[in-house]
Structures are given as structure tokens and as C-alpha cells.
Subunit: 367 residues, 2 copies
């Protein structure tokens, strides 16, 4: 038996153990092919079955309507930051961006590289260090926008949109890298969704993109290098070039596991329970554990940032947790303090363990 | 013990068994971290050690001078087809392309998408179905070229440059996806080399790029989306964004194995022996096994295309080989016949097994 720690990394992050055990068992001989899944041609029927299952499980888990296409790409969120405006912002077409954290800001910056002032920031909470989300009345969507880009969960700052921005007839485009599949949601207001796999879905190196047909029809085509065209990947079912086969295989394993435990409704229930436990503890010791996020309704159920009274206590917390088998708790460099990332693979029991440690730590160290 | 087949796929392809066994053994607990290597933050010291070892082993195996930078990207050869001209062909800067097969043609086509007529095809053997490489006197390099692009091994057609094109002071740029590290070579005439990992190096989803400082200094910068800039990846040691950590880990395992068996000199010796055995057999039954490549000096030691007298015999060959534990021999769709891909992980013994089968098959079926 491998000795496993409790993994609170912000990404790459922990994956469900059964998905990894399945990979380990067949790493040298995938389904009696006599090869590892990473050694098989991407044109073989054995690989194509995995590939198509990953796509169909995504569709099934989210109940995605038929007018959406699901593609699997490389390059992570960063490449999407560029591909999105390259495909959609040309000849003066404009888009709006909502800036709610350092990742949202990067997406906007890349939009400006491609489209200049045609990429517009319509709301930001930067002056408040992104410690809350913009309120509804702070967001004014431009009617001439091709899309409104936002980031559903802000990994660094620990805020999360619990109800999505309302943009009327302008399609939402969303970077869901850090909370994709944490719960069911209605995809219909979205024109495009993208998510790097390395938080909730699988290893780094795979990006899921979901694109609605009307937005796809507007994408630039022959003027762009082929790999950067959404349409070519849709037309070729993400087999235009050699896809990251092993990453997609692990994604398939994770999605199949998600389905086996009851799908996104069951996963949401777990995630809400984890949030209640952890935020309950933080609020119980409000003078000792100080949350970064200022508006409770904006708190993320994926990434939880808080501070301890001193640097010494922060270090002692990280070290003590590590000694108790919990890793990845050190806060992001620009913010400091503690960050607990609790993606789908973190269990309720894992959070109970953390909360017991936090209870004990607060009792021993709070004045 | 996993039952393994002999894998002649053109890519993704077989990997050295010890590299995979190492991955399997520690898939749930990498170096006593209590996590899979794919679950660890890319900013952790444990992952960074793997990352840096992959880069330093590449440098060591090829004896790459210090004025070259090695980066690890995503998107495969296809993204490089676009990134290369996006970085280097701007404001009327021109480049030459040598077209020697369907992959070389794709690279040229993408060059034209980015640079229009500033990307120039200076030699092609398309009219001869790419069944040979251009002769030295057929290649006229333009003095105003920023680079001359070529494809060192033509995976589909089965030709390989055994001595590289001579381009004077114009730097070579090479797609080495299908024969990188098959032997030692002098990198000094090269301005840039790229190779998708899925043939000789590891799983799909990782691309090795080697770039010389003088070419790097000419790359476009702030005008390009960040992921598409070579310079940003060099400056950030390929950690600008989350790299494909598991793929890089397998690359590290393969490179470490390559070193352990005597490095590229030993690998070249094996590859030459494999070529002698297989081409020896084809030539022994010259009327029965008919090679696609017309010039013996252009024959590839990585991919070997040949035809049998009839479709029925071709099918019987593929089926018979499969029954004998050999897979991936069906020819590429545009060419037909048989293709034997024998990258580094294919052993001399594997080729002896194939040749014994071919001897037997020819004796039974040749008239």
C-alpha cells in the first residue's frame, strides 16, 4: 500500500485514488493490448474509445446540449487566453472582460495583446486587492460585445461566482480552470468555457473547451495557424494533431469515477459540506484565522485563503500540518498566509482532519 | 508480468520498458511524497528537480553548447509550425522551406499562413511522391533567409537526411519529431530544433524546443500572445505556465534510461543494426518486398515503407504479424502497404523477430 498524504495543492492537485489505481494497474498493458495507453497510436480503435468516452462523459455529467462542441486541447489556460481573442476579436470586434483576480487579469492582458482597446475591462475589484467580486450594479456590459469574459473561481484570491454574471444576449465566456465540475450548472448562457485539467480533472497538459455553435461559426479560420483555430479541432474531433493521449486517459478515469459516485450532484454535496466545515472553523476562531475575502457570499469552495496573527504562527501551522500528513497549505506568494485548495478529490474526511488540526492549533496558540 | 507486444506504431509509439516500470512503481507515491508526480505542484522542489533533470539530460546526451536554450512546450509539431514563423517572420523577414514529405509540407503551409510569400519552398520532391530527398544541387538557399526549415526524418514516406542540408550562414531550423535522439549530431548549424515527444522521447503532449541565442534575440515579443513567445518560456525555464508535468516526468525517465545504456552512441549502434537487418531482408526478397523509397541513400532508419505484391498479401502480412505479437505495421493511409516504425525503444531482438517472420512469409508466398 502506497502511503498517501492529504493534498491541498492549488494545482496540479490531488486526483481520486481509484482513477490513479486504475492507471497504475494497466500502465504496462492497457486492456490486453500489450502496450501502455501512452504507447498506442492515437488513430487506433483502443485509444479512440478512451478519447470519445472522455468527451461523452463531460457531456453527460454536465448535460451539455447538442449545440455545444467539446474539444480537448493543449497549452492550458494560457494558450486559451490568446486563442480566444485570436479566434473571435478581429476586424474591430469587441469584447468585455471582468477582472476579479490575477488570472482574470492575465486573460484580459492577453485579450489586449490581440485586440488592443477592443478588449475592455468593464469591472474590476483590483483596488480592493480582489478580495471581493464586483456587485451586480458595478457591471455594465457593452451591447456591442462579442462576449463577456470572466473567471468563475479565483484560485489565488479565493473568490467564486456562486451565481454567474448576467449579460443579457451577450454570451458568457468563462475560464473555469479551477472549479469546472465542482457542481452541475446550466451551460446555456455560455458561448465558450475552458478549463485546464490540472485542478479538478486530471494532469496538467489537457484543456477542455466547450464552444457553442453560434460562437464557433464566428471564429476566424484560414488566417490563423491551424492549431490555433477552434474550428479545426471541432471538425477533427480533437484528433487534428496528436492529442495528449495519456492526459486524456486520466481525464477519462476521473470522469468515470465522478459518474460512479453519483455525478455532479453528489460531488456538489461533498464540496458544500467541506466548505461548511472549513469556513465554520475559520469563523469560530474569527480573531485567530482571518479570511482574505471580505464578502462572505463571494467565498470560494475551492480555494480558501486566510491569515494567522504572525509569520511565525503561519510557519508553525504549515510545518505542523505537514507533520500530520497535510501538504500544499502555504499561501500564494503574492498574498501570503495559508491557502487551502480543496478540489473534488479532497474528501470530507480530509477536511475533518484539517479542521481538527486547526481547532487544536487555535486552542494552543490563540491568546 | 504484463504481457507486452512488439510495437511498430509510428507514434505515439513504444517506450523503453524500464522507463514505464519506474513510472508504474511510483505512480501513487513519487519519491516518498505520498503523491503521484502528476498531483504535485509544478512549483514544488520535487517536481522542479524532475523538470530540470529532463532539460539537463537533453543537453548532456546531445552535448548542446551553452549558447542554446532548451524549452519544453505543449501543442506538438503542429503548434511549432505556427509559432516558428510567428516568432521569426515579421515585417518582411523571409525564410526557406525544403519540402520532403507530408509533414514538411504542413510546416511550409503554416509558414505561408503567417508570412504569405515570405515563406518560400526552395526544393521539393513532391512530383516523385517524396520517394527521395532533394539532391544537393537541387537546393538553392536564398541569402536573405532568416532560416531554412527542413524535416530530418519523413515519418510518412520513410526518408531521412543522413547528412543535413548545407545552408552556409543561414541557420537550419528542423522538425526532428520522428528521429530526435536516434544518434548524436552536431547542433551547431541549427538555429532551432523542435521535436514532439511521442516517437523517441515519451508520451504525446510534450515538445522539446532547442533554440540558439542569436535566433532567440530576433524573436517577436510583446506583439504575440504570451504562450506563443519562445522568449517567455526561455526566461521562465518552461515554468511560465503549468507544464505537462507527467509527460515531462516520463521524458526524464526515458532520457535517464538512454544515458544508462550508453547514451546516443550506443543507441545509434542499435539503430544501425536494426536498419541493416530490416533493409537486408527487404533487399533479399527484392521482387516480393518493394521499398517505397527510390534512393537507397535516403532510406530512413526510423520508418520503413514497403509494398507486397497484392492487397491480399498485405492484409495477410499484417494479420500474421499481429498473431505473432507484432502490431502497428499497417501502412499510412495515403501510401498503403506496410510501414515499420522502429524508434529507439524497438530493440534489435524485435527486428530479428520481424525479419524471421518476413523471411518465412516471403518463402511461403513468393512465386
Amino acid at each position: 500500500m502506497a502511503k498517501r498524504v492529504i493534498n491541498f495543492y492549488a494545482g496540479p492537485a490531488g486526483l481520486p485514488l481509484p482513477a490513479l489505481e486504475r492507471a497504475q494497474a494497466e500502465l504496462l498493458d492497457f486492456e490486453n493490448t500489450g502496450m501502455s495507453v501512452m504507447e498506442i497510436s492515437h488513430r487506433s480503435k483502443e485509444y479512440e474509445a478512451v478519447h470519445n468516452e472522455a468527451i461523452s462523459l463531460t457531456k453527460e455529467l454536465l448535460a451539455i446540449p447538442d449545440n455545444y462542441k467539446i474539444i480537448l486541447l493543449q497549452g492550458g489556460g494560457h494558450l486559451q487566453f490568446g486563442m480566444l481573442p485570436m479566434n473571435l476579436l478581429y476586424k474591430g470586434r469587441k469584447a468585455d472582460y471582468i477582472c476579479t483576480g490575477s488570472w482574470a487579469e492575465k486573460a484580459f492582458k492577453e485579450g489586449k495583446i490581440v485586440a488592443g482597446d477592443d478588449a475592455r475591462c468593464i469591472a474590476t475589484t483590483k483596488e480592493e486587492k480582489y478580495a471581493r467580486l464586483p456587485r451586480r450594479e458595478e457591471i455594465k456590459v457593452n451591447a456591442d460585445s462579442v462576449y463577456v469574459h470572466f473567471t468563475s473561481n479565483n484560485t489565488v484570491e479565493g473568490t467564486q461566482w456562486h451565481s454567474f454574471p448576467e449579460t443579457g444576449s451577450v454570451p458568457l465566456v468563462c475560464d473555469m480552470s479551477s472549479d469546472f465540475l465542482w457542481r452541475p450548472f446550466d451551460v446555456k448562457p455560455f458561448g465558450l468555457i475552458y478549463a485546464g485539467a490540472q485542478k479538478n480533472l486530471g494532469p496538467s497538459g489537457v484543456t477542455v473547451v466547450i464552444i457553442r455553435e453560434d460562437l464557433l461559426a464566428q471564429c476566424l479560420d484560414k488566417e490563423l495557424p491551424s492549431y490555433l483555430r477552434y474550428r479545426i479541432h471541432v471538425e477533427k474531433n480533437s484528433l487534428y494533431n496528436t492529442p495528449p493521449t495519456f492526459g486524456i486517459y486520466i481525464l477519462r478515469n476521473v470522469l468515470a469515477y465522478n459518474k460512479s459516485i453519483g455525478g455532479l450532484a453528489a460531488i456538489e454535496k461533498n464540496n458544500r459540506k467541506k466548505g461548511e466545515l472549513l469556513y465554520g472553523c475559520i469563523d469560530r476562531y474569527a480573531g485567530f484565522y482571518k479570511p482574505f475575502v471580505t464578502v462572505p457570499g463571494d467565498r470560494s469552495l475551492m480555494n480558501v485563503d486566510f491569515f494567522l496573527p504572525t509569520e511565525e504562527l503561519t510557519d508553525a501551522f504549515v510545518k505542523g500540518a505537514k507533520a500530520a500528513g497535510m501538504v500544499g497549505l502555504k499561501g500564494y506568494r503574492d498574498i501570503g498566509g495559508i491557502r487551502v485548495s480543496m478540489y473534488n478529490a479532497v474528501t470530507v474526511e480530509n477536511i475533518q482532519t484539517l479542521v481538527a488540526f486547526m481547532d487544536d492549533f487555535a486552542k494552543k496558540n490563540a491568546q
